[in-house]
């Protein structure tokens, strides 16, 4: 286990290093932010001063070395547009994205597992087929378009739920969260549903496949023969055993939920880090783009590591030592 951890962390460090070089050279090769940042009327002296202030006059490798040195101490530069440290900007937006992603995961499990089990127990019934057709639809619908339809239906036509923003937030340990207030929760429902859609389809498929397999096993037959109530068989014996793949996949998908929140946040004007990324790309605010990407890469590495560890705890058949990390 320890060997696995050390190897994994060393590998992750290499990935982060390579990513930072790629991201830096890539991002800094594009556009000239000066054109965006300085008014066209500015004279030559003002221009030069601004370029020097942002360090854009140095050759590329010197810019990178300065960047790398600061990055190691947690400083990824200052936002060209907002004038505050980029990491701080990204981290400030992180709680909003996190709570949205978590609610989306909860929705995905709460809807996906019952439907998947239902479809798995009666794969040839009408309901089972409708559920599966629905999951194909869920895979096919583009997230942003569903988001727009949700806004049109529930915000514009029915007027039940707000279409954008975070609503009222309450600070918990100094971090603002929406889910604690009724107004904030109302703002969260549509974006979280939107973000959950794809994962609901995924969970349905996993739960259905798992149920079909498990339902034929001897211990389920035995439980049935013993005269256990069907509810107990499904709720305990089947549910427990289909959870392993569901938990693993959901863990791995958590990262992709955070990445996909870029889309949902743009549609619903949710002030998370995904929206920050899109705004920054469009404004050529390089340090923020780099900071977002590096923070996300780190997040991913941590998530993957935790999922691998959890997996081995949940399923004793998996041995980490031999597995290629």
């Amino acid at each position: 286990m320890l060997v696995f951890l050390i190897r994994r962390i060393a590998q992750s460090a290499i990935v982060v290093a390579i990513m930072s070089v790629l991201v830096f050279t890539g991002i800094f090769a594009i556009g000239n932010p000066i054109d965006v940042l300085i008014s066209p009327e500015a004279d030559e002296a003002e221009r030069a001063a601004a370029i020097a202030r942002l360090g854009l006059d140095l050759p590329m490798h010197e810019q990178f070395l300065a960047f790398a040195k600061n990055a190691l101490s947690g400083d990824l530069g200052t936002s060209f547009v907002h004038g505050v440290p980029a990491v701080q900007l990204v981290l400030e937006r992180f709680p909003a994205t996190l709570e949205l992603a978590l609610l989306a995961m909860i929705i995905a499990v709460a809807i996906g597992i019952p439907l998947g089990i239902w479809a798995g127990l009666r794969p040839d019934s009408k309901a089972g087929k409708i559920i599966m057709a629905g999951s194909i639809l869920g895979f096919s619908l583009p997230t942003f378009w569903v988001g727009m339809l949700l806004i049109m239906a529930f915000a514009v036509s029915l007027g039940w739920l707000p279409a954008s923003g975070r609503g009222e937030t309450v600070e918990v340990f100094g971090i603002p969260f929406s889910f604690v207030t009724a107004d904030g929760l109302k703002h969260m429902i549509l974006p979280a549903l939107n973000l959950a859609l794809f994962k609901v389809s995924l969970v349905i498929r996993l739960a259905r496949a798992g149920t079909r397999e498990v339902a034929l096993q001897d211990y389920v037959r035995f439980a049935r023969a013993k005269g256990l109530a069907p509810r107990r068989i499904v709720g305990v014996h089947i549910l427990k055993n289909i959870m392993i793949p569901v938990v693993t996949v959901l863990g791995l998908e958590f990262g992709s939920v955070i990445a996909f929140s870029v889309v949902t946040e743009t549609v619903f004007a949710w002030p998370g880090m995904g929206k920050l990324l899109i705004d920054s790309i469009l404004l050529l605010d390089r340090p923020v783009v780099v900071a977002y990407l590096l923070v996300t890469v780190l997040l991913f590495i941590v998530i993957n590591l935790v999922v691998d560890l959890l997996y081995s705890l949940l399923d004793p058949r998996i041995r980490l030592g031999g597995a290629k990390a």
């Binding site: 594009i30 096919s140 942003f144 049109m152 889309v263």
Partner: protein, 303 residues
């Protein structure tokens, strides 16, 4: 659609794999419906310049007076706008047909290029083995551990807007799937007797890989590729919606949906709704075809 080619069907009762595939594919009515719809969509996109009521790129044909017409209304000259028009007086049906061209172009070309690259890399990995194989597969693992949209955003932030750039980004995302699929298929196939037999015949390595190994690795690859086309089209639409995909001058379906977003809130739903439906129908039909192909080609389900 003719299910069985009479020329091959008549003389013998021997089932070629292709024939069995066709027959089994036609088993599912839903999949056949998907295929028919897909053929209709692709051909209407191909023939858009001839069937579209209007050339949406020709600014001289647009009349601002026809802006935001609702679906089914006609302009002064009696030209019918089946699906309404956008704010510049562009006929939405025509815009959708032309948008489909861009979307399908991006989807199919990026998948094809990625397929070729993945095929080559995967074959090399499987055949070379050893440290080269390990290096390639590690790269694939790392890339696949990041969600596609994140990689696409990074690449497009670097490359900038443009149809060609979106194709490059989508190719860079997809190749890893194919490389992995091909490698695992090739590793299984190369242990089979026919490869051994070919080696005993002292056939050149190149010939064994290209003529013997490759055709037998294709089925799983085709399944992955079908589903990936749908993914690529969705992803392109998403990127264009976010404003980092195709430029305004070559609107894809995603772009059309995005430009209708603001009008949607004020009740002019058609500008966004109809391109979205077109996108949805395209993707669903591809997925239906892909699902059935997977069932038919899956060796575990074969009888």
């Amino acid at each position: 659609m003719t299910a069985v080619n009479p020329a091959t069907a008549a003389p013998s009762r021997v089932q070629t794999p292709l024939k069995r595939f066709v027959v089994e594919f036609l088993d599912s009515r839903v999949a056949v419906l998907g295929l028919v719809v897909l053929v209709l969509i692709v051909s209407s996109a191909l023939f858009a310049p001839w069937i579209a009521p209007q050339d949406p790129y020709d600014l001289s044909k647009l009349d601002i007076m026809n802006g935001m017409l609702s679906p089914g209304s006609a302009d002064m000259d009696g030209n019918l706008f089946w699906l309404g028009s956008d704010e510049q007086g562009r006929d939405l049906l025509s815009a959708i047909l032309y948008g489909l061209r861009t979307s399908l172009l991006v989807g199919f070309s990026s998948t094809t290029v990625a397929l070729a690259i993945g095929l080559m890399v995967g074959m090399i990995a499987a055949y070379a083995g050893g440290s080269l194989d390990a290096a390639i597969m590690r790269l694939v693992d790392i890339q696949l551990s990041f969600p596609a949209i994140l990689i696409a955003l990074i690449l497009l932030a670097v490359l900038g807007k443009g149809v060609d750039k979106v194709i490059i980004a989508l190719t860079a995302i997809q190749w890893a799937y194919y490389a992995r699929t091909v490698r695992s298929a090739a590793l299984v196939e190369r242990r089979k007797e026919y490869v051994e037999a070919a080696q005993c015949l002292a056939l050149p390595r190149q010939r064994i890989v290209l003529r013997h190994l490759l055709p037998n690795c294709l089925p799983p690859l085709i399944v992955v590729a079908t589903v990936q086309v749908a993914h690529a089209i969705t992803l392109e639409a998403t990127l264009s919606f976010l404003g980092v995909g195709v430029p305004v001058t070559e609107p894809s379906l995603g772009m059309l949906i995005a430009s209708g977003f603001d009008y949607m809130l004020s009740g002019e739903f058609w500008v966004s709704l109809f391109p979205g439906l077109a996108l949805l129908v395209t993707i669903v039909s591809i997925n239906l075809v892909g699902d059935q192909m997977r069932d038919v080609l899956n060796p575990r389900l074969q009888h």
